[in-house]
């Protein structure tokens, strides 16, 4: 989901999952150029880009204003999608495309065309252009030539505006950091990747999986999508960076929809991510996920609505991981400390405690796996050509660092490899693999006992057990309350008197981040991984979050906004006792 960020409102909308479902229909390649081979061989694309880069730089650095940086990136994407819905194949296709992005910066590292003056936001002149699948240097260079000229023109115009604007605006301290960091150039030629896939077995699987969902009268719609994606990146910059690397990812997403009697939409979603084809989930693993989804949806449809409350809560690992991603991770993104329009929650807190001392948080994009689970936030180089790194954000409760792109902060002059973007967007600092580590761990049984202890101590009728979170909204802008709202999907009331847990629906967690983070009293002993796609200013990027379960002494929940649309008037055709029309 790509969201537009308006200048008056900094708003992060982060919905994990669902994204593949919203992508436009892909295509079947019937006869394309041969797939890139897997040997380490330098692509001829790099030489073509380099030739055009040298020609452009020579001319544009002599202009007024001069270009001081030019970067070219081609992303070659091979993608297969197989989707099923309600027991039938929805589509099955494979497509390949090559996308060119050109970055031209005018002025200097100190002050360039991306400099923020007031609340004006920087937008790229063009998201890029399609370039040939065939390695035709002449045709490619022509596209690069036109994009470079357009980007230079936009960057020159922007810089002139900024120079005029700076005279009438006072720069904040934060804004005194340079606009672009100096980085070491990198040369890396890795193997190109591609996959050969027989879509037929997946077509049968998505049919069968969604057919199973039809057995439940509560499930009114189901979609299952399998995606395979091989991406090869080719990048050259005027600083001397020259990169070629690739990555393959596979994903299976399950999505079902239902409706409560009062009209509330009930969704359940589950995803599997893997890198090695051998790690694909088997039918048994999928069936188990499906059974859980179905049970939860059927339970939620008839569950009572939770009234607003404040009290102790236990978040399971996956829910806690999303909670940290929303509440902490987005606020630790470097550019949010810089922008005058941002709330700068943590800007002046470096070196200060922001979490209980038993918690540390790293963002480590060099990690391919945590335990046996593939991490979606792994990469070799970020989208500004900076190598992936392990960054300690919080060390034993003390804030140490931010996720940094090449947009420096005072005291943080260089990137730590977190400049990321969706194809066509301008990179900003984003999360990769956000990993929460704890030195005060309890077993699951101990955590639950501790939760009941807290409920009793606070004299509350119940506490909450939060098992799944869909993502959330985080307001980080200065004009809005520094609040977050995360959307839990599966929530149980836990009673101190030993009654069984009760599933409830319509719960939103609300609060302010600094307060919420300090209320954590203990954690579990097993980290759990949540893989998803996160949407923000620079588009949708793959991320992971990992955390053990967390117990918090106080969590505020409010009632969820609900739809007024009533449930369907007639029963599902397969569950209609009055058979009008012959079933086949």
């Amino acid at each position: 989901m790509k969201i537009s960020v308006r200048h008056f409102m900094n708003f992060i909308l982060c919905f994990f999952g669902l994204l593949a479902l919203l992508l436009p229909f892909a295509a079947i390649v019937t006869q394309a150029a041969p797939p890139p081979d897997t040997q380490v061989k330098k692509s001829p694309l790099l030489a073509a880009l380099q030739a055009e880069l040298e020609r452009s730089m020579k001319t544009f650095k002599a202009q007024d204003p001069p270009a001081y940086y030019i970067g070219y990136t081609i992303t070659d994407t091979q993608r297969a999608d197989v989707s099923g819905s309600n027991g039938a194949l929805l589509n099955s296709a494979e497509a390949r495309n090559r996308w060119l992005e050109v970055s031209v910066r005018t002025g200097s590292y100190e002050t360039d065309d991306t400099h923020k003056v007031g609340e004006r936001t920087q937008t790229s002149a063009s998201p890029g252009a399609s370039v040939p699948l065939d390695d035709d240097a002449g045709v490619l260079r022509r596209a690069v030539w036109l994009e470079t000229d357009m980007q230079y023109r936009a960057a020159a115009e922007a810089l002139i505006k900024i120079k005029t604007g700076k005279e009438v605006k006072v720069d904040s301290v934060e804004n005194r950091a340079p606009d672009f960091s100096h980085e070491q150039p990198h040369s890396f030629i890795g193997p190109q990747v591609s996959f050969t896939l027989d879509r037929n077995p997946w077509e049968e699987k998505v049919r069968a999986y969604t057919r199973t969902f039809r057995e439940s009268a509560a499930i009114i719609n189901s979609i299952v999508t399998f995606t395979a994606q091989a991406q090869n990146v080719f990048q050259v910059t005027s600083e001397g960076t020259q990169l070629q690397f690739g990555q393959i990812r596979y994903r299976l997403e399950l999505f079902i929809q239902g409706k409560a009697p009062d009209g509330m939409d009930i969704d359940r979603y589950y995803n599997f991510d893997w890198v090695n084809p051998a790690d694909a989930p088997d039918d048994k693993a999928v069936a188990a996920a499906q059974a859980t989804m179905r049970k939860e949806l059927e339970g939620l449809v008839v569950a009572p609505i939770n009234e607003p409350s404040v009290g102790p809560a236990l978040l399971t690992g996956r829910a806690a991981a999303v909670f940290f991603h929303e509440v902490f991770g987005h606020r630790a993104e470097g550019h949010r400390q810089k922008d005058a329009a941002e709330g700068q929650t943590f800007a002046k807190k470096v070196g200060e405690p922001i979490l209980p001392s038993f918690l540390s948080i790293v963002d480590d994009t060099t990690m391919q796996k945590l335990g046996s689970e593939d991490l979606l936030g792994y990469y070799q180089f970020d989208d500004e050509g900076v190598p992936a790194q392990r960054v300690t954000l919080v060390d034993h409760g003390i804030l140490k660092n931010f996720e940094m792109s090449r947009s420096p902060l005072v005291g943080f002059p260089t990137s730590n490899g977190h400049g990321r973007r969706q194809l066509g967007a301008t990179p900003v600092s984003r999360q990769g693999n956000l990993i929460v580590e704890s030195s005060k761990t309890l077993t699951n049984a101990q955590l639950r006992a501790k939760l009941i202890e807290l409920i009793k101590a606070q004299g509350k009728p119940f506490g909450l057990l939060i098992d799944d979170i869909a993502g959330g909204f985080t307001f980080t802008g200065r004009g809005q309350p520094q609040a977050f709202q995360v959307l839990p999907l599966v929530v149980y009331k836990v009673f101190p008197d030993g009654r069984p847990d009760e599933l409830v629906r319509g719960v939103d967690i609300v609060g302010t981040p600094l307060a919420a983070l300090t209320k954590i009293v203990a954690t579990g002993d097993t980290p759990e991984v949540f893989n998803g796609y996160c949407g923000a200013e620079s588009g949708s990027v793959p991320v992971s979050a990992a955390s053990p379960a967390i117990l918090t002494s106080e969590l505020e929940v409010q009632k969820k906004e609900s739809s007024t649309d009533r449930p369907p008037i007639l029963p599902p055709p397969a569950h209609d006792p009055a058979k009008t029309g012959g079933q086949q």
Partner: protein, 610 residues
């Protein structure tokens, strides 16, 4: 004048079958369970779908339910300067469910409200491609539920709005139509054994010979579609449609910074009928050469005087001017006057409605729309169909006879002159069906040979004592010639209200000097004020019919407007217009306006010629 017609229920089997070779005499047996699923869900919806509204005695029920389903099998191949940009083959199925509350006289349709029902899944969407029974019933079930609730809400909003009006329209909302059954056999797409990727490479490579062309695209677009329609009135239809297109756009900048575009497009009823590589290369070479000539040509100056449209330009001009005029349906009732203004601004209100019997074209001229016509002057026509997208049998309509308006094209949305459909409710890709031309013939009893017409033109020029006069050889179609959405938006903005009052975009325009007959190309001309009224009196009509196959735009807001002729294969409705050269005695032409762009700082990088 209102008229009614009696239809007997009729069944046509495989009457028109342009996509396949199979023709059978009886209902086909196949593994397609689409219609059965539609029938069964329809039966349930008709009898049991109802909503009790608090405070009203009777529950609401739909009086009409319609299921449409489009099965699209599409291949698209894009080449640029000899390299392949993309190639794809997709098959998708889309459904569209409509439910109507009220009755034929006044129902929930034809109303544009500021806010409406927003369901969680909606009455439209993508459905399974297996042609199976169970998944489609599930999808139709939810879609019907959503469409019905949407109709209930719209109906109540519409009634509330109408009660605030002084006088309500006496035109019905929905025309009755006899149920029709037409089940064509399923067609297996025939992509032919041609290598489309290689053809796209080879044809687009022609443009490498023109180093001054900045950007270009050659797109092959091959479509096989199966359309299903089932209504609660008993109509059941499964038909096949197919067409194939090659479209190319290209651009450059003149030395003064004016952006110049050119295009080439050709359409055929099916892939195998597309022109060969050699023929396309030859045509693209002409287009490229013309673009280079345009680039070097001087900008057009403001001009008033006679303009000759050669047949290749006259047919697309008529497609633009006549599309809104021949549409006889009433416009929707709009909650906001903005919609009305928008339609008027785009030239979307018919000037001919309410003028039956009046002279609208020169005496001797007739305008005939014939959905049954297959070819004209040896060229296959694109617009043919047997049954329209509302399940009404296509009729040949004499729209204008001897210059006088006689009958407009009608869908099932009645208008002031007719309350019955004549089978022209057409839609591309499940859009709303609108009265749209199929194969439109512009014929005159009084014609001149091209030589005589030119002589008449030059005589008029001399008698006005003009140093030169303008001849238009080709019209622009910006939806093909422009390669960037930004450029298209900019162009639309430049129209302002001009589309409604008759701004037209000629592409290839020559000055002709009557003294010595020499010709000079000019660029950037725009004709203004060329509306339907200008067609009443023409200076002359040629006998050189040109068959113009093109795509009617069905883009929301364009359909049924003067911009309706700006379509492309991806979003258009195949149509044909057959017309000769036309001489206008007095037109206004404006020279180039707007700020030119700066030329690129660097010259184009090298690209070898092939």
């Amino acid at each position: 004048m209102k008229r009614t017609r009696g239809f007997a229920g009729l069944t046509i089997l495989a009457a028109v079958l342009s996509c396949g070779i199979v023709t059978r005499a009886q209902a086909p047996k196949d593994n397609d369970h689409t219609l059965q699923a539609m029938r069964d869900e329809m039966a349930r919806s008709k009898t049991r779908l109802e909503l009790k509204i608090p405070g009203t005695p009777q529950p609401q029920r739909p009086y009409y339910v319609e299921y449409r389903l489009l099965d699209l099998d599409v291949r698209e191949v894009v080449g640029e300067f000899g390299a392949l940009i993309s190639t794809s083959h997709t098959r998708n199925r889309f459904m569209d469910v409509e439910a109507r509350i009220g009755d034929y006289k006044l129902d929930s349709s034809n109303f544009i409200s500021d806010d409406g029902f927003r369901g969680f899944i909606g009455p439209t969407g993508s459905v399974g491609i297996d042609r199976d029974y169970d998944s489609l019933r599930q999808d139709l079930w939810i879609a019907t539920d959503q469409a019905f609730k949407e109709a209930v809400e719209t109906y109540s909003r519409k009634q509330a709005y109408l009660s605030s009006l002084a006088r309500q329209s006496d035109i019905d909302d929905f025309a009755k139509a006899a149920p029709l059954q037409l089940i064509e056999p399923l067609v297996t797409p025939d992509w032919s054994n041609r290598n489309w990727e290689q053809e796209a490479r080879e044809t687009s490579a022609t443009l490498r010979a023109f180093p001054q062309i900045y950007e270009s695209r050659v797109t092959y677009y091959l479509v096989y579609a199966t359309e299903y329609l089932l209504t609660s009135e008993g109509t059941e239809i499964r038909t096949n449609r197919c067409f194939a297109a090659i479209e190319s756009g290209m651009n450059t900048l003149a030395d003064d910074g004016m952006q110049i575009n050119h295009m080439y497009a050709t359409y055929a009823p099916k892939p195998a009928d597309l022109p060969s590589v050699d023929a396309v290369r030859k045509a693209l070479n002409v287009t490229g050469t013309e673009l280079m000539a345009l680039r070097a040509a001087p900008p057009a100056q403001d001009y008033t005087g006679p303009v000759l449209f050669e047949a290749r330009a006259a047919a697309p001009l008529l497609a633009q001017v006549l599309t809104p005029a021949i549409n006889g349906a009433r416009p929707p009732v709009s909650f906001t006057p903005v919609m009305e203004q928008l339609l008027t601004g785009l030239g979307g209100k018919s000037d001919w409605v309410g003028r039956m019997g009046a002279r609208v074209l020169p005496p001797g001229v007739s305008l005939i729309d014939d959905p049954g016509a297959k070819e004209s002057h040896g060229t296959a026509l694109l617009g043919a169909y047997a049954v329209d997208d509302e399940g009404v049998r296509a009729e040949k309509i004499m729209i204008v006879d001897n210059g006088n308006a006689k009958e407009l094209l009608m869908s099932r949305r009645p208008g002031p002159d007719s309350d019955i459909s004549n089978g022209h409710g057409r839609s591309a890709f499940l859009n709303d069906a609108k009265p749209t031309m199929s194969n439109l013939f512009f014929k005159s009893t009084e014609t001149l040979s091209p030589a005589d017409l030119k002589k008449k033109f030059l005589d008029a020029c001399r008698s006005e004592k003009l140093p030169y006069c303008l001849v238009v050889r080709e019209m622009d179609n910006p939806s093909i010639s422009l390669l960037h959405q930004d450029d298209f938006s900019e162009l639309l903005a430049s129209f302002g209200g001009g589309a409604g009052t008759g701004d037209r975009l000629p592409l290839i325009v020559y000055k002709i000097y009557p003294d010595d007959g020499r010709e000079e190309m000019v660029r950037g001309a725009r004709i203004i004020g060329l509306n339907t009224r200008m067609l009443r009196n023409l200076g002359g009509i040629g006998n050189d019919d040109f068959v113009y196959n093109y795509m009617q735009s069905q883009v929301s807001g364009f359909a049924g407007t003067a911009l309706g002729a700006f379509g492309s294969a991806q979003s258009g409705l195949p149509a044909s217009l057959i017309a000769p050269s036309l001489l206008f005695d007095d037109l206004e032409v404006r020279g180039a306006r707007g700020e030119p762009k700066r030329l690129p700082l660097l010259p184009a990088p090298p690209m070898t010629a092939e």
